[in-house]
């Protein structure tokens, strides 16, 4: 197998950190090569260097046997390199064909009709159904990703770079994408696949390069290597990764949501449509779903940032739908929001001040007077008990890495002993070690009798920690059933809105109101 791309000694420095240090990487023709690493390991920087968005400080890049210096993305595209970013760059008010026409040189596209024919050809050949006349805003996230991929395929593609492509997809969409990628690879196109989901990498990739702290920590054949071994290369210490937690049954109802419907003033929000469920004390209830299907709105309605009919949200028998967040906290709700910096924590405030942000009701202030020594004590306890890496209680929240800030926020909520904890994406973008700390803390709270609701896109995580599971789609909630009775295929159906498979309508009805 000939080498398509070879990187030698690539180094890129940013103020205060070295993002890439002497990276070597080799991708053969038709090879699907995984690039693995925790957040902040330098994967994205390396991709941007290959695609010409960022210039390396040192090092060589060899493309099909010739040394090249890529001057920018258009140069990269000329060479046959295509990239699909995590966040798509599509105009929502234009059609698929118009979007693609905008990004390709005129001589490649021809007239719009010719282009449409090409789009249909390519999408059929690779099993990615796509209608060139649809407007992008009517497409699902998975379909938008197809537009991005088809856009790359319309040029003579030799290397396709995909930056965490599966994080926004349902399990069914993921397996379809993998089929396409395997077909591409068999035709000789090389693929560089960035991910931190080890199972996917093992299922798809021929080779893997693992980055840690900006350096290559190892290469492996993922099909021959266990998930644990790969994870060890990513993290580099002896954390047990694949800890299994026992499933339990909850006791008395803690949070009851009764026929909750809600439409926010924000035109871009998802309306909540007649949702009912119960979270019991001593259990973790997980709600899966692709982002933007109402999770954010549901969380705000439970936290009190949005208000609704008083009886729609009930905590320990008290209707609380009309209460403000601080009043709900007084009754024992803890909340971990999706945005850590800029909602869960004030970026410019110290960790001590951020402890006060939600802790002010728990003895940290009296008659409006702040007891700063108590604030500092609690902040120091959070830092030590949750292993938050920081420069102490006076460090600014924005100086912490995402994972450490998340440990701090979850610690802040848990140490206030909530009887209901609502978490959005508890380990999104958090490295393996920190994720374990967070999961263990949630399980501990559950075993002490806390009720926990987890909203997450990470299905693996939900299966790991949740006792019961359901999915949200377009503001509607699927049935909720014990996790071990829900197959991943069923959960995938729920995530796409198919709640009532023929044959068992009665069952699911019962489960919804159980």
């Amino acid at each position: 197998m000939k080498n398509r791309l070879e990187l030698l000694g690539i180094t890129k420095r940013y103020p205060g950190c070295v993002a890439n240090q002497s990276i070597r990487l080799c991708v053969g023709e038709g090879e699907i090569h995984a690039l693995l690493g925790e957040n902040g390991a330098g994967k994205s920087t390396l991709m941007k260097i290959i695609y010409g968005v960022v210039k390396a400080d040192e090092g060589e890049m060899i493309w099909e046997g010739h040394q090249v210096e890529i001057t920018g993305p258009s140069h990269a595209r000329q060479l046959g390199i295509g990239m699909v970013f995590q966040h798509f760059s599509l105009f929502e008010t234009l059609t698929v064909a118009e979007n693609i026409a905008l990004s390709l040189p005129k001589e490649k596209t021809g007239t719009l009709d010719e282009l449409k024919r090409k789009i249909v050809d390519v999408s059929q050949r690779y099993g990615m159904k796509l209608d060139p006349d649809r407007y992008v805003h009517t497409l699902s996230i998975g379909e938008q990703q197809r537009v991005e991929i088809v856009r790359c395929l319309l040029q003579d593609l030799k290397l396709l770079i995909l930056d965490e492509p599966t994080s926004v997809l349902t399990p069914q969409e993921v397996s379809k994408l993998f089929e396409t990628l395997q077909q591409l690879s068999s035709e000789g196109c090389s693929i560089l696949f960035i991910s931190h989901k080890l199972d996917e990498v093992r299922a798809l990739c021929h080779n893997a390069t693992i980055l840690r702290g900006g350096k290559v920590s190892g290469d492996c054949d993922p099909q021959q290597t266990t998930t644990e071994e790969i994870a060890r290369l990513m993290v580099g210490d002896d954390t047990p990764f694949d800890k299994q937690f026992t499933k339990v049954e909850g006791s008395t109802p803690s949070l009851e949501i009764n026929h909750l419907s809600f439409k926010s003033e924000d035109p871009f929000s998802t309306p909540i449509r007649d949702i009912s469920f119960t979270v019991r004390s001593g259990e973790i209830l997980g709600i899966a779903g692709v982002a933007g299907n109402g999770q954010e709105e549901l969380l705000r309605l439970i936290s009190g940032e949005e208000q609704c009919k008083n009886e729609s949200v009930v905590l320990n028998g008290n209707p609380i739908g009309k209460l403000h967040p601080d009043q709900r906290r007084k009754l024992g709700i803890g909340v971990v929001p999706e945005e850590r910096l800029g909602r869960g924590a004030v970026p410019n405030h110290s960790l001590a001040q951020n402890t006060l942000l939600t802790g002010f009701l728990n003895g940290l202030s009296q008659f409006g007077w702040i007891h700063y020594h108590k604030v500092k004590d609690l902040a120091a306890r959070i830092i030590s008990e949750f292993n938050v890496k920081s420069d102490g209680t006076e460090a600014q929240a924005k100086s912490l890495s995402g994972g450490n800030l998340q440990k701090f926020i979850i610690g802040r909520e848990i140490l206030q002993h909530p009887n209901l904890l609502v978490c959005s994406h508890p380990t999104w973008g958090v490295d393996v070690g920190a994720a374990l700390v967070i999961h263990e803390a949630l399980i501990r709270l559950r075993d002490q009798g806390g009720a926990i609701l987890v909203l997450s896109e990470d299905i693996e995580e939900l299966y790991k920690i949740c006792d019961r599971i359901g999915a949200i789609c377009d503001g509607r909630l699927s049935p909720i059933q014990p996790t071990d009775q829900v197959s991943i295929e069923l959960l995938g159906q729920w995530m796409t809105g198919e709640f009532h498979p023929p044959g068992s309508p009665v069952d699911s009805q019962e489960a919804t109101y159980a």
């Binding site: 420095r13 967040p325 601080d326 929001p337 004030v346 942000l357």
Partner: protein, 361 residues
């Protein structure tokens, strides 16, 4: 080659050095300006910044300027920390002076110790009411407070002009646009005998400590700073943004109104078209120069107060125009904002080593 580079975290040192650098740059530019106008730079700067403070009387005059600046700036500090951009201290000051002055004129014949507290309180309430208009417009109708408070400043000024040219004009004043003189019972006593500085300076000092405590030790101060830094976090924690907007604007209005009534019943003794030389606007510069900290406000007020005094000195001694004060204040704000860039950024020489490596590859 020079390059601007983002610092990993904000520089605390630079946050304190920025005002010092701004003052130095203002002095240098001022010296150049004087030289260009054909004056000796050293003598001019001496006249502007040193000679006003060579005797006790000069320090007392500085106190006369510092008190209203501090009162307005303390209120503005609360607003600005909450990112409520109240530009209306000037209008609140004028309405405070106008309201208090109106009551003093109406009570001209009453000889009672209660006249002065009534006048002062009413002046502060008038300032508060003027700020309440902006608060209502912002919280109820979502009007941008920058626009509403600036417009309210002009309404306040024209109301004052109308009053002293019309209904409140002294009938025995030879048709000058001025009110009658207040009675002695409506006048604020001086802090020291033989000096003009009034007890309002003592109030300003007490309020400085009070606001400092409010900001650093109480939940209200904490809520204000959370709202200003991160409105989403304030909502997440359950702090009521609208209440905080009302609170900061009302306190600021009351303090500016108090400053206004103290000015007319402390130094001027009547209503004139010129009760404020722009204290409410200069206080904005004070707040940024003082880094939104009460002690910084005191130092900033002294520097801005000095520009008022120095401007008067160079008018008298060097026959310079009155606008020289505004020029110095403007330069100060300009340099301050420029220097503040370096709190978040630093200048770096583009490393030549990296260039060589890039060229070699």
């Amino acid at each position: 080659m020079l390059r601007l580079e983002k610092r990993p975290s904000d520089s605390r040192l630079m946050a304190y050095m920025s005002p010092v650098m701004a003052i130095i740059l203002t002095l240098i530019s001022g010296a150049l300006l004087f030289a260009f106008l054909g004056q000796s730079p050293t003598h001019s700067l001496y006249t502007f910044f040193i000679s006003p403070l060579t005797d006790l009387y000069g320090w007392s005059e500085l106190g006369v300027k510092v008190a209203p600046l501090m009162l307005c700036a303390l209120g503005l500090t609360l607003c600005f920390r909450a990112k409520v951009w109240n530009i209306g201290a000037e209008g609140q000051f004028i309405i405070g002076g106008l309201g208090g002055g109106y009551l003093a004129l109406q009570m001209g014949n009453i000889e009672s110790a209660w006249v002065l507290p009534a006048v002062i309180l009413f002046g502060a309430l008038c300032g508060l009411g003027w700020a309440a208009l902006a608060a209502l417009l912002k919280t109820r109708f979502n009007c941008n407070e920058v626009l509403t408070t600036i417009m309210l400043n002009y309404i306040a000024l024209n109301w004052l002009l109308y009053s002293v040219h019309g209904p409140l004009k002294d009938p025995e004043g030879f048709n000058f646009p001025e009110s009658a003189l207040f009675s002695d019972f409506a006048m604020l006593p001086p802090l020291f005998e033989d000096y003009r500085v009034s007890v309002s300076l003592a109030f300003a000092m007490i309020l400085m400590v009070a606001i400092w405590t409010l900001l650093s030790r109480t939940m209200i101060g904490f809520q204000i700073s959370v709202l200003g830094e991160d409105a989403k976090a304030a909502q997440f924690a359950g702090f009521r943004a609208k209440r905080l907007v009302w609170l900061t604007l009302l306190i600021c209005g009351a303090l500016a109104g108090f400053a206004g009534v103290s000015e007319v019943s402390g130094q001027i003794g009547q209503l004139t078209p010129y009760i404020s030389p722009g204290y409410g606007y200069s206080a904005i510069i004070v707040v940024f120069l003082g880094r939104m900290h009460p002690v910084g406000i005191l130092l900033g007020s002294m520097i801005l107060g000095l520009t008022f005094l120095g401007g008067e000195m160079v008018q008298m001694e060097l026959a310079m125009p009155k606008s020289i004060t505004g020029l110095f204040q403007g330069m100060l704000l300009f340099y301050l904002l420029a220097c503040d860039l370096f709190i978040g950024y630093r200048i770096k020489l583009k490393s030549s080593a990296a260039k060589v490596a890039a060229a070699g590859s």
